[in-house]
Symmetry: C2
DNA sequence: TTGTATGCGTTATCAG
DNA sequence: CTGATAACGCATACAA
């Protein structure tokens, strides 16, 4: 019932101009006058073909517009050299992480297959899609799945988790040392002379509990256990703004450390509207060093995660486990770095 | 004779626990006790299998952890139902566009294959990669390639350009009506009572010339041709800040329309530092309605592009050209929408 | 250095 | 509904 036989010059007429069929290895073999196998050898860069033959084959390929077929190649060789990356397109942090994975993968001879989680596509769906393409490793950024589900996946494919560990299985984990980040913030403020430093908490969000713990331990280590204050909030502007309003009800601290930049910005806005000067009356530190932090007019002191380092580790970990089947999974927490900008200064009394 | 020889439990030992090989259709056919062809029919959702059989097959697939192989499927059927999307990971606008393409593609039964352009991967490279995976259509967001190169690509695959047209070939183009956006901004300001409205130009960047032209025509249409002022700038904070400093040298206009949000923010910062109150002394309009515009403390009136509409059009266009081979390529410019926030108000004298 | 034969997992067609 | 058979484009041992 496929009645549309669109005869594109089927007859004996000339058909050199536009090949209506994608050229294959057979076409270029015939064009050059060698066997298909030899063409395969040349395209894989294996030895077994003379320099002259290589040249002629590449020439013919360029002329005919030939391009190796990834599907056929992966199917036949049972080796796709592809790594799936699961991440959330709406999170700039994750997008930036992915961007840095490319050079690392390329250098090791692997391709990246992007699996974007969006409001319409859950993690399950994306993992399934990636696995259908036979990716050999999977890098899951900010996993939301429960541990059991990821355990099952780790059974089929090498797995790396970025951001947090949700699995007990043979899985590499790379994350930011969140606690160290807030510790650096505390130490920066203490060095400036602050003592009354309040933490705007991130609630149940990823990394938030470590950031809080880091704050608390650092305060304690500096003899400021008595000054510890934690205001419950979250990771949004609105959370930060609400925390700011609560802060305004009582005597202000001289500095706050927010669980992330968004919350810091919401708080900043409330403070400025209330006539609180930053950094003269109040120092503010964010977390993530997002693009917002760098904006003129915000210029927020913030904690930067080592994104290139995390991307690099994730790629190398999965490739190593692919190459060395018995390598033990590793877990690592990379140190962040405090970026000092205009929202922190010595407190009034100092 | 090729049918039965892949005996799973060949040896006498039990090895049911962990299949060390990825299950295939043959495995699940054998498990259920039907033919492989029938399993194929069921997984393709074609008619020819009883309800009962379907159920048993899906059950067995779930039990064995079977997943259809996209590589083999695409290779054999010569139909991947995959659309390649070329975009720049570092541009939030493009990322958001891609996010909105998913539901549209899914609904039409197509998959998206993401081809991210990064500092280490040029457009050429990405196009090549996408084509190797046999995607049937290609959506190029913000094309940088020269026309000739894209013409050649349009020859191999259905092509849609988003953002601007660089090709003369059979290509669909969807873009924002940039001129209409600045016209809306002008009309908003005129309605508020402004007459001295200056444009902060976007230089050679995409869309900038249309935005400038829209401003000029709208001013003229409102009898304000004599008030037209264009300050050369660009798309960055710094460009906007420099333009702001130039503005401060002379008598200020009552309103400015920046070529994009970034420039508006840079200008905003310079103005606020110089003691110019916004919107009391100066109204400011941005373009793009980026995440920055929505930030508390910025709250920028801005022109929002119809991102879902553009994504939708792009997907539908490429799918239509796939299904209806003779459909003529379309070009369309979608109307943007002005989002009024806190940086615009009536001028002093009004 | 080059050619031959086989199969990867699937779709697709055909006759039973 | 079954079972056999032929591709799809390529990789890869093995023969020449």
């Amino acid at each position: 019932m496929v009645e549309q036989d669109r005869a594109r010059g089927t007859g004996p007429g000339a058909r050199e101009r536009r090949p209506d069929r994608k050229p294959t290895m057979a076409d270029i073999a015939q064009h050059v006058g060698v066997s298909r196998a030899l063409v395969s050898i040349v395209f894989r860069g294996k030895e077994g073909a003379s320099e002259e033959t290589r040249r002629r084959i590449f020439e013919a390929a360029a002329e005919l517009g030939y391009r190796p077929d990834s599907l056929a190649r992966g199917l036949r060789s049972n080796r796709t050299r592809t790594l799936g990356v699961l991440f959330d397109l709406r999170r700039p942090f994750e997008v930036e992480l992915v961007e840095h994975m490319y050079p690392a993968a390329e250098q090791l001879g692997y391709h990246l297959l992007l699996g974007a989680v969006t409001p319409t596509r859950g993690q399950e769906h994306v993992v399934d899609e990636l696995l259908r393409y036979r990716c050999e490793g999977l890098i899951v950024v900010g996993p939301d799945l429960d541990g059991h589900r990821l355990d099952a996946i780790a059974d089929e494919v090498r797995l790396v988790e970025v951001g947090r560990a949700v699995t007990r299985g043979p899985v590499d984990v790379v994350r930011n040392d969140d606690a160290l980040g807030t510790r650096q913030a505390v130490e920066h403020l203490v060095a400036l002379g602050h003592r009354r430093i309040t933490h705007i908490d991130g609630g149940p969000n990823p990394g938030a509990s470590d950031r809080r713990a880091g704050y608390q331990r650092a305060m304690t280590d500096h003899g400021l256990a008595g000054e510890i204050r934690v205001v419950p909030a979250g990771y949004t502007d609105e959370d930060g703004a609400a925390a700011g309003r609560r802060l305004l009800d009582g005597p202000l601290p001289t500095a706050v450390i927010a669980a992330n930049d968004q919350a810091a910005i919401g708080l900043l806005d409330v403070m400025l509207r209330a006539g609180v000067r930053v950094p003269q009356d109040l120092s503010v530190v964010g977390y993530d060093d997002s693009r917002f932090a760098k904006l003129p007019g915000i210029d927020l002191t913030s904690v930067r995660q080592d994104i290139p380092g995390m991307a690099d580790f994730a790629i190398k970990a999965v490739v190593e486990r692919l190459d060395l089947p018995e390598r033990e999974p590793k877990q690592i927490a990379l140190p962040p770095q405090l970026v000092v900008r205009g929202t922190t200064a010595a407190p009034h009394g100092a």
